[in-house]
Symmetry: C2
Subunit: 153 residues, 2 copies
DNA sequence: TTTACTGCAAAGGGTTTGCATGAGG
DNA sequence: CCTCATGCAAACCCTTTGCAGTAAA
């Protein structure tokens, strides 16, 4: 969780203006753990800025992404936004479509970093960031499926 | 690279009809290594089926995905399609937007599989498949950037 | 013969863009 | 003050859907 001060500094580095709207949007994302969609961000900010439109959200998301503060995660229907720039694993439930970070162990982080170094060592590809998604059933949906409550695919 | 016979068997398992169009589309993807977009698949098939439309491509892609033969990789602008269902790493160039598989070493595959087991062991999440993307500059674009040919971002 | 696929056209919807107004530096 | 951001509306374009004709089994 980033303080507002750090936020302002990072935005100033990119020569972008620090507006109340941008701060509100940034705080919503950076304090989230559910990888919100644009719509969800919109709903969470609307309380403070009733006149804000999606165009402002999209614009701000672009700024935050270029600043390296967040990562866009495109999915089939729409994008979600990831505030956790550390190497980690996302668990994507293919049933309820929730997305959470896998239990943050240093192990996992080290493994992903190790993968990066392995790739860097065996090719000339310069890795800047990564996205690791595991798709499957969350505990809740897996249990429901066992009980036959879900459509069998 | 899958033989046509295996392809037919897999499709029959899903009780879908094996049409010449589907076979052509499947062969294009399964023999590709550049993670083609729908447009690229369309262009590569059009020679054999001039009357084919994108609707048929999309329909077939859905069938192949449900059959577990390919994986859709959503990106910001559009999706690409991945014929390699083994655990591996995709290298995504943020400059030229090419996507290639990282050098296929058993090491990398084992590491990704190890990650899966680690996640499975520490949570009740049932992993079905995964997507591992490393974003950065491919050797060609990295060199161009060093020569100052690319816009400094 | 029956069922499902192809091809065509139109609709859908997340995201982007253009522009006038308004606010940050 | 000047430049850039916001908000509104319209455009964009990838993708999905509906339907009539056609081909697989």
């Amino acid at each position: 969780m980033l303080t507002q001060q750090v936020l302002v500094e990072r935005m100033r580095e990119w020569a972008v203006r620090v507006t109340p709207q941008r701060l509100a949007i940034a705080e919503v994302i950076l304090n989230s753990t559910d990888h919100p969609t644009v719509q969800q961000i919109y709903e969470r900010v609307k309380g403070h800025f009733p006149s804000m439109t999606l165009a402002t959200i999209y614009s701000t998301l672009g700024v935050l992404q270029k600043s390296g503060l967040i990562q866009e995660l495109p999915f089939q229907k729409m994008s979600r936004y990831e505030p956790n720039m550390e190497p980690h694993v996302n668990l994507v439930c293919i049933e309820c479509e929730n997305v959470i970070d896998a239990e943050a162990s240093h192990d996992v982080q080290d493994v992903v970093l190790g993968l990066r170094e392995k790739i860097a060592g065996s090719s000339d590809f310069e890795v800047a960031w990564q996205r690791v998604d595991f798709y499957g059933l969350c505990p809740r949906c897996a249990a429901a499926k066992r009980r036959g409550e879900l459509s069998e695919v």
